[in-house]
């Protein structure tokens, strides 16, 4: 635990690179700031942009830890910048963009494109029987515990931290990551989805799916929402092996 106090100097060492600018080389740049009460990386980075360097690129939307925009490497570990207090990671803080994803500029990466491609491939929506719903009728019932279990997995914010921490994702560009496997677990649990294990096997029963996982499980350690990724991946693997052998 660091001992940074209000008024202390902290230093942000930021990996700068804008691939859109052909003359630019990647470089580290250091900014010195004064620690303030409750200062987060959201506050610190905005202060730098407003007062020092208006060209610095980064992404924040909700700044409350719920939208998943601000994943970045914080002292070598993927995390959400908006809810990281500088006093917990300072006085020297190294920031870099999340690996695996396409770099836009500086700390901004294109997680949206990656997530959309993953969703299209795994068909991450409820596949119900095609019949027009009568919206005037009472909704179908669901056990309260099951609804809670589904929500537990539905809490994923697609921030990309698990993908950036993943050894397989570095080697296999089409690996679906813990985010994708967790979604399969979520839809498998949902009685509204009519897909069977045979269907799910088609989606993740290979090395780009659950069999690509090397069980390093950094995904589980870095997930900002504390999703039970370890259990879910193991569970899906077991089900897919069973399916594959049948």
């Amino acid at each position: 635990m660091s001992t940074v106090k209000t008024g202390d100097k902290i230093r942000l060492h930021i990996l700068r690179f804008n691939p859109g600018n052909p003359d630019e080389e990647p470089r580290m740049q250091t900014f010195e700031l004064e620690e303030a009460d409750g200062m987060t990386l959201f506050i610190a980075l905005n202060e730098i942009r407003e007062t020092r360097d208006p060209s610095l690129s980064f992404d924040f939307v909700c700044r409350a830890g719920i939208c998943g925009s601000c994943g970045m490497m914080i002292n070598g570990r993927p995390g959400l910048a908006c809810r990281t207090l500088t006093r917990n990671v300072g006085p020297d803080i190294t920031l870099a963009p999340l690996p695996v994803f396409e770099l836009i500029a500086d700390l901004s990466v294109n997680t949206g494109k990656w997530m959309r491609a993953m969703s299209e491939r795994l068909e991450t929506w409820v596949q119900a029987k095609e019949e027009e719903l009568d919206l005037t009728r009472i909704e179908a019932r669901m056990e309260p515990d099951l609804a809670e279990q589904i929500y537990e997995l539905d809490r994923c914010i697609e921030c990309g931290c698990c993908v950036s921490a993943c050894g397989t994702a570095r080697m296999r560009k089409d690996f679906v990551g813990a985010v994708g496997l967790n979604k399969i677990a979520r839809f498998r649990l949902d009685p509204r989805d009519t897909r069977t294990d045979e269907d799910f096997y088609e989606l993740v029963g290979d090395d780009d799916g659950v069999f690509g996982c090397m069980t390093l499980l950094a995904c589980h350690d870095v997930c900002p929402k504390d999703l039970p990724l370890q259990t879910q991946i193991a569970f899906i693997r077991r089900k897919m092996i069973k399916q594959g052998l049948s």
């Binding site: 207090l85 929506w125 009728r137 309260p144």
Partner: protein, 664 residues
């Protein structure tokens, strides 16, 4: 010249935009959604506590129906809402919850039997009915007579956006991410699409469409302290304003949410109070019952926020290095409840405050939260003055919230408006050929390119981020919860000066592509205009209504001010918006103005109110105990305004489907 054609251009990828794109697509029209960010990161996600829909499943919601939801919403609006639109909304909200249930939203469900809840600070045991087991649950929220707010723990918006976002992918909706509309293409009569900038490459393109829909959310970032996401800068509002033809409705109606944490301004849900949490002062005293004996902590947001600020002014605030605040106490709800039903609140307290809400109280103070004002539309969602321009959700003013929105009605509005307006957009596209006025498109593109060039290559010396801070400070200090003529005049003067200065912004960083400074520069020019519609509208409205409170005119004045403010900006060189007013017709209202059931009891009546009341009494006497739908239809027929496929009564445990539930 890069030109992209589609049937429906949706600007904004939150719940409203995605849902109306889905509606249009399912009716056979192509849609492209433009989004500043990946759609699932939109601010819809931040809706925590829930979505109002009168399902009446829980025992404390028994007897709830569209009529009760309608009355709560109209009272909440301080009678400024369009009652036809409120009716359309309350009848569609249960359908929206049920549709989302089928699409995979894991709504929290009812468990039959006894459970302990906190009501008015005390533990009470309530018993859920056997026949309600497994149906969607509701919790209590402010300004409602029944427990009506359907929820997914306290991540309701997240779960809804997840399901609708995935549904949109499943339906093949095209989303262009990280792009921004700079202007609407129009000829003064019809809108043809938008000029759009790619935020990564800086390239401009014209998107030409039969229908253009604004679903860009709110304008919270006009203020320094706001619960809104950083992208909620009101740019969609400003794009409509800059057409000079479309108007904005009621921009002075700005909601302040009672419980934003201090100092970060992050929201903790109204569900905290709905589930039994209390507001306390520096003495640990629960003060709301002193002011609001009827609804206490659960009066409407405008009322609770004013009472909190009033209590701080009375010297009862808690002093801290970030200024004064009050306490939100949810410790009485217990660890299990907090970690299950208020887990986002638990996370936010831990990460941003270092506070454990199971044991400690949460420092809170009201902060800007919601923009009731928006692009003025008809009940179909279309602008009455600019054909082909539609709006839905927080960006719109079709006007279901009037001068104060009820908690749980905004995330509900996003999907309901998406469903309704989406159908009307599809109807509109059915009857339109895509006309491509190439000259106009080229001219619009050139105009925007010239503005960007002027910012990058011009001689301006003003700093965009500095102007933005000055604007936000003026708005928070002078156009806040308590307003006076004097302060509002200072705000208008100050903003006019900032508007002048914003015409001389310089951008030292010259990158054409990813360039955050350039983005701030062109946005702040728009935001200052929009701030002027808020401040000038507030200065001109010499009464108090809903969230708009004037110390110098503390009464609601129906006789003079039961009118909707319309702001427009016909000449780009104007330094103030043009204000006109649109009267609300009491003689057509189902619920004529009266006391809201909380807040101030004195107001100035309109002469029509008594007349309309007498008419309604006579009708009620005539109908006696007839079917409530028949009485409603006699008071204010509205069902013809809804798209055909969204008509029909909603089934409930206590209102089984009968002939009334048949679709027309």
């Amino acid at each position: 010249m890069k030109v992209i054609y589609t049937d429906v251009l949706v600007i904004g990828g939150g719940l409203a935009g995605l849902r109306l794109a889905i509606a249009a697509r399912r009716r056979g029209h192509d849609a492209i959604v433009l989004s500043l960010v990946p759609p699932k990161r939109s601010h819809s996600k931040a809706a925590q506590g829930g979505m109002q829909a009168s399902l009446g499943n829980v025992i404390k919601g028994q007897g709830d129906n569209e009529d009760v939801h309608f009355e709560d919403t109209v009272r909440g609006s301080d009678w400024a809402a369009d009652q036809d639109v409120v009716r359309m909304f309350v009848n569609t909200a249960p359908k929206a919850v049920r549709e989302l249930a089928a699409w995979g939203v894991p709504w929290s469900r009812i468990r039959k039997g006894d459970r302990t809840v906190i009501i008015n600070g005390k533990q009470v045991t309530i018993t859920e009915r056997d026949e309600a087991h497994g149906l969607v649950a509701q919790r209590d929220f402010g300004g409602t007579k029944k427990w009506r707010t359907c929820y997914v723990s306290d991540g309701t918006g997240h779960a809804m956006l997840q399901a609708v976002g995935d549904r949109a992918i499943g339906d093949g909706i095209v989303v262009h991410e990280r792009v921004e509309a700079l202007s609407l293409i129009h000829d003064g009569k019809r809108c043809f699409g938008a000029v759009v900038r790619d935020l990564t490459t800086g390239e401009l393109a014209a998107y030409v469409a039969k229908a253009t829909a604004m679903a860009t959310g709110g304008a919270g970032r006009l203020y320094r302290v706001s619960t809104n996401a950083v992208i909620c800068e009101g740019i969609g509002h400003a794009l409509a304003l800059e057409t000079g033809v479309a108007a904005l409705g009621n921009m002075e109606a700005v909601q302040f949410h009672p419980t934003a944490i201090v100092p970060a301004g992050i929201l903790v849900t109204e569900g905290c109070r709905g589930d039994g949490g209390l507001l306390k002062d520096s003495d640990g005293h629960r003060f709301m019952p002193d002011y609001e004996p009827e609804k206490k902590e659960l009066a409407s947001r405008d009322v609770v926020s004013r009472r909190m600020e009033q209590h701080i002014l009375a010297g009862k605030g808690v002093k801290s290095r970030f200024g004064e605040h009050l306490w939100l106490d949810i410790t009485l709800l217990g660890e299990q409840h907090i970690k299950r039903n208020l887990r986002e609140v638990f996370d936010i307290c831990q990460h941003f405050l270092g506070v454990d809400p199971v044991k400690d109280m949460i420092p809170v103070r009201p902060a800007q939260h919601y923009t009731m004002g928006g692009v003025r539309t008809l009940p179909t969602g279309q602008s009455p003055t600019l054909k082909g321009l539609f709006a839905a959700g927080e960006a719109a003013c079709w006007d279901m919230h009037g001068f104060n929105r009820l908690g749980g009605n905004s995330v509900a509005e996003t999907v309901v408006a998406g469903m309704i307006v989406g159908e009307f957009i599809a109807d509109f596209c059915d009857g339109e050929e895509l006309a491509i006025p190439l000259g106009l498109v080229r001219e619009s593109l050139q105009q925007e390119q010239a503005k960007l060039d002027a910012l990058l290559a011009g001689q301006g010396r003003e700093s965009a981020s500095q102007l933005k801070t000055l604007m936000q400070t003026l708005m928070t200090d002078k156009v806040g919860i308590f307003r006076t003529g004097e302060n509002l005049q200072l705000a208008v003067d100050g903003l006019q000066e900032l508007l002048q200065r914003s015409r001389h912004i310089g951008v030292p960083y010259k990158a054409v592509g990813a360039n955050p400074e350039l983005v701030t520069a062109y946005r702040v020019q728009k935001m200052i205009k929009l701030a002027l519609t808020v401040a000038y509208g507030a200065l001109t409205r010499t009464e108090s209504r809903g969230a708009h409170f004037r110390n110098d005119y503390p009464q609601r004045n129906d006789a003079e001010w039961l009118r909707r403010t319309l702001s427009s900006w016909p000449d780009p060189n104007q330094s103030l918006p043009t204000l006109t007013y649109e009267a609300l017709d009491i003689r057509r209202m189902e619920l004529p103005p009266g006391w809201r059931g909380y807040g101030a009891k004195d107001y100035v009546d309109h002469p029509d109110t008594a007349v309309r009341r007498a008419e309604i009494e006579a009708l009620k006497a005539e109908f006696g105990a007839a079917d409530r739908h028949k009485l409603q239809a006699a008071l204010m027929p509205y069902e013809q305004l809804l798209p055909g496929r969204l008509r029909g009564s909603n089934e409930r445990i206590d209102e089984p489907a009968g002939p009334a539930a048949q679709r027309p």
